[in-house]
Symmetry: C2
Subunit: 317 residues, 2 copies
Amino acid sequence: MSDIPGVVSENARIVDEALEERVPLGEMRIHDAAEHLLTAGGKRLRPALLMLVAGALGRPPEKTVEPALAVEITHSFTLIHDDVMDDDPLRRGEPSVHERWDVPTAILTGDYLYSKAFEVALETDASDETLRRVMETLARTCTLICEGQALDVELAESDDVTEDEYLRMVELKTGVLFAASTGIGALVSDAGIYDDAYSYGLKVGKAFQIYDDVLDLTAESDDLGKTRGSDLVEGKNTVVTLHARRNGVDPTLPKDASEDEIEAKVEEIRDAGSIDYARRRAEELVEEGKRDLDALPDGEARNALDEIADYLIQRTY
Amino acid sequence: MSDIPGVVSENARIVDEALEERVPLGEMRIHDAAEHLLTAGGKRLRPALLMLVAGALGRPPEKTVEPALAVEITHSFTLIHDDVMDDDPLRRGEPSVHERWDVPTAILTGDYLYSKAFEVALETDASDETLRRVMETLARTCTLICEGQALDVELAESDDVTEDEYLRMVELKTGVLFAASTGIGALVSDAGIYDDAYSYGLKVGKAFQIYDDVLDLTAESDDLGKTRGSDLVEGKNTVVTLHARRNGVDPTLPKDASEDEIEAKVEEIRDAGSIDYARRRAEELVEEGKRDLDALPDGEARNALDEIADYLIQRTY
């Protein structure tokens, strides 16, 4: 298991500082709620990826902090609204916005961060032409994320989901924002390798989510910030549970399953090879994503992107 | 009482056709819900104002339909989310999105339209530099609208609201999108009168909302699509009810007030001069807004903007 790469932490610090400079946002409840989420930590993976792609292409971090903030703020907005839709009481171990305040505040805080993300992206140090492409990428990405969340809701109502459908959902809900991050990193560097950068982000983003589903069954509850096996209790479709089903294992558990029952079910799923299968799918995506990096010049930043790709599927939480 | 100006209807037709060309948006529930709201009619005032300002400055409607759609789609997104927050069951006489579907669908449909608005705005036929200003205006406007809705929620919890606070809320919640519409109309014409155009929109937008509060007490329930006097039953602050309070009339009614009780209260408020007072405030704003039009060249489009300003505070619903 690997620690978060140092270069991610360094970039996270830049992002945290830039966020600190922008708060307080105002005196209203939505400002408090927005700050609560923005400054509550998080790995800042998406901005790190954006800054590293740009860095590999010769654009220093201080020139790319605005678009990096924009993708992080976009991510924050989706978390707040997703928590309302899924009625999740916790986020990063803290009460989610609708729990700590209420549903209207959570809807409105998400909406507020949504436009803030666009406002911050518009501060990008870039030519008007490049900025147009940055904004097109960001807007298109938000549309796709919404379609991903919508697909997630619709698939949750179906008892006949294929792995391809699930992976399409993951691509939209998670992959495209990673892809936008790396794609925008290329755009702001005017290096003309947008497609490769986007593809790298899309693949490692999908791998990240698949591995998240693995962690739900393998990580310590303390690290997860929720009970291990929650996906089984909630009857969620994942690459793991879909594989289990295909191999004759019912991966679901009653809502009131005991810890022992959960452990036994995890073992059953593990024995069916489903956890290894999902891990392998994530590894394949990471390998493919790393090949996209061939478009980038050799150097420290590119090595870091390699390292992050590996980290995404080796982390312990 | 005046009918909707013909020029608004003409522009509404252009907007409706452009929307028709863009549907179906997709096969998911959020696509259905988005189309439901977008094609359910509405006066299309904001796009009409945008197209008329641009038209007065020599930019024909077919060149400005994308930004016009963008402000209308932005308006639609705010309606969907506001209806969830206020738990309003009806919108334009039809079940609101969260009533017809559910709250998650309404949140997600609003989010989807939010980015769609930005995507459509990015299709604007304009130089990259102008587009940057259009996007800055749109993003900043969305932030302000969220702050306006937040202020609305916070003021509703207070029993000591001043008219200035209320008008600030109206400016943010309603005024700024009218202002963005007329401001963007100027931007896309590259005519350099953004400030005047913005100011006109801001003032007539505020007047529009103040007059809406007058209509709540004076229009026919059938025209309103809701019961006359609903603001009194809901205990809403408006320019009317704040004036009534200042003049010793309690403008509130119990939730189960009968039609007769509502009529009696409306009379009491009318006798206190509160309805005339609000009407006068709206008229003043319209007169001020019309003076901003001096920045525009004489002609049919400018006359129409004059006429629309008057219509906004003379309409019957």
